[in-house]
């Protein structure tokens, strides 16, 4: 299985990765290709799937405003979730980083721990907290005088964004945290010795350096939110559909697999384009920070 003396052996790396490569081609690339194919097949209530090549499903998605609205909702929710996690997660990571060793590791555990707890359980918690018009959250907000009448959270986009932000928050904190670890611990003192105040230090010294962390966290959160299933399904219910829940319905309830495959393919392509595009943009913008 090795290694040391065979720098000239050009076959060795391929031999080592051949099993994994075959696995990926056999049970990832082929199924994905089959899904793309499926999106061009025909389907009828009684005839089932017909393996022909037609654009029916794609035409339906392109013309029926229902789909445009659904995709727009999906991405709107993902964007809002991303902004919320960045706005709260980045400062929290910074505060966390300034804590004493023991508290730091305790709170890091408290914040990252939920990552390990089932998404279903976490979302269920939010469903309980929202719980109709007299849910705990509304009671709290009203008694604190933040709002006068209850906000509907269940079956709304607001509720979905709040619950999703909670589910995704650990990724953002982790990403910013990683960027903060690369910071020179003396850098704030250096800035201070040059006469900078706390606001200036954060704005001019810290922010530019953790921005790559925030952005790469944002990409993770965005792509996971746009394809999230459990949280939209539980909070959004059957009425408020996003791409993932719609594809699920087409597959397991309506049984219109080709249409579901088309929705899934579109989601995949859109996400890959957005993620690859923004990754490239960020890397170009921040080459020197990433080095």
């Amino acid at each position: 299985m090795s290694t040391v003396a065979d720098e000239r052996n050009a076959r060795a790396p391929w031999v080592l990765s051949a099993p994994a490569l075959m696995l990926f081609v056999g049970v990832l690339l082929i199924p994905l290709a089959m899904t793309v194919m499926l999106s061009f097949h025909d389907w009828g209530q009684y005839k089932g799937i017909e393996p022909v090549f037609i654009l029916k499903n794609w035409k339906e998605i392109a013309t029926d405003p229902y789909y445009a609205e659904m995709f727009w909702r999906t991405f709107r929710i993902a964007i809002l979730t991303t902004l919320l996690t960045a706005a709260l997660g980045a400062p929290e990571a910074y505060i966390l980083n300034r804590m004493d060793g023991r508290w730091k590791s305790i709170f890091l555990l408290v914040i990252l721990g939920p990552l390990l707890i089932s998404v279903v359980a976490r979302t269920l918690g939010w469903a309980l907290l929202f719980g109709g018009n007299n849910g705990l959250v509304n009671k709290l907000l009203m008694s604190a005088g933040v709002i006068r009448s209850p906000i509907p959270f269940m079956f709304t986009e607001t509720g979905m964004v709040v619950a999703l932000a909670h589910v995704m928050m650990p990724f953002m904190v982790l990403s910013v945290w990683a960027a903060l670890q690369r910071l020179d611990p003396q850098i704030e003192n250096a800035a201070m010795s040059l006469g900078a105040g706390p606001i200036t230090i954060i704005r001019r010294i810290i922010m530019p350096q953790i921005m790559p962390g925030v952005l790469s966290g944002a990409i993770i959160v965005f792509s996971l939110s746009a394809s999230a299933f459990a949280t939209p399904a539980i909070i959004g219910g059957r009425r408020l559909k996003v791409a993932a829940t719609l594809a699920y319905d087409e597959f397991l309830n309506t049984l219109n697999w080709p249409l579901g495959a088309a929705v899934a393919t579109l989601l995949l392509v859109a996400l890959v384009l957005i993620v690859v595009g923004s990754n490239a943009l960020i890397e170009r913008r921040y080459v020197e920070v990433f080095r």
């Binding site: 290694t3 990765s17 199924p31 089932s118 279903v120 899934a264």
Partner: protein, 268 residues
């Protein structure tokens, strides 16, 4: 290092409360004596924990999840370790493309994977089988297994291997006696992270599971779709308790930071 101001600490307190609240509320509701979802204002009761016993499918689903997670993470490592060694040690044409392919399941939405596997396995006559679940989970946990093994293999001191070779070790002996022990911490972390991913997956598995092969998250999700009673909260509370226990044990014997934040951005 400067201290946090009062404003920062208030923000932090609220942040932590919000992070913990939904989990806490699930655990509290699990102890309700009522027949509906409510906070246990009239004393605590274990009736909903006892009720789990009447739903053997939850117990069964737990074992399916456990077995699936353990097995798929192990199988993923069988493929990932040699691949990680190849990527870590050789500079060859197609290396970047290969790494990108192996990490691609991170970028593909799990709904899409669920649909693709459903289509694939039904046409292969494996629909709803445990074998299909294993293969599908191997793919989704592969990137986690690969990443941590890769980090360990890249960070490994190659001269240690050279020393072993100079002393006469080669081939399988070299791998078993020296290379594997050296990358073992990474491999174990990779397994743990892979297990967590597998154990927690709902989105992909919900497409593939059939009665009998339903995992715990799938069983819980399907239950919520039809019923609204505190049973799922008591099941969730059990899962949370088991997770916490596992975490504490892991932290005691292995160091959680090594598993979780060890390589910075494992969350990806």
């Amino acid at each position: 290092m400067r201290r946090n101001g009062p404003l920062a600490l208030i923000f932090h307190t609220i942040f932590v409360i919000v992070m913990v609240a939904p989990i806490l509320v699930v655990c509290l509701v699990a102890f309700t004596p009522e027949g509906f979802l409510s906070l246990p204002t009239n004393g605590f009761s274990l009736r909903w924990f006892r009720a789990i016993g009447n739903y053997p499918e939850f117990i069964h689903a737990f074992w399916v999840s456990l077995g699936l997670g353990a097995l798929s993470s192990f199988v993923a490592l069988l493929f990932a370790v040699p691949a990680a060694l190849a990527i870590a040690r050789y500079r060859f044409r197609g290396r970047d493309a290969l790494a990108a392919l192996f990490l691609s399941p991170l970028m593909i939405p799990h709904v899409v994977l669920g649909i693709a596997f459903l289509r694939f396995f039904t046409s292969a006559g494996l629909g709803g089988s445990f074998a299909a679940l294993i293969i599908a989970h191997v793919i989704i946990v592969f990137p986690f297994a690969l990443r941590l093994t890769l980090a360990a293999a890249t960070g490994m001191d190659r001269t240690v291997e050279m020393a072993a070779v100079s002393l006469g070790a080669g081939g399988w002996t070299l791998f078993r006696r020296v290379t594997l022990p050296l990358i073992l911490p990474g491999v174990i972390s990779g397994w743990a992270l892979a297990f967590i991913q597998s154990f927690d997956d709902l989105t992909m598995t919900v497409f593939l599971a059939a009665p009998g092969t339903e995992t715990l998250p799938v069983r819980m999700f399907l239950y919520i779709q039809d019923n609204i009673d505190p049973l799922v909260t008591s099941v969730s509370a059990c899962v949370i308790a088991i997770t916490m226990t596992a975490l504490i044990l892991l932290d005691r014997f292995y160091g959680l930071d090594r598993v979780l934040a060890g390589k910075g951005d494992t969350g990806r």
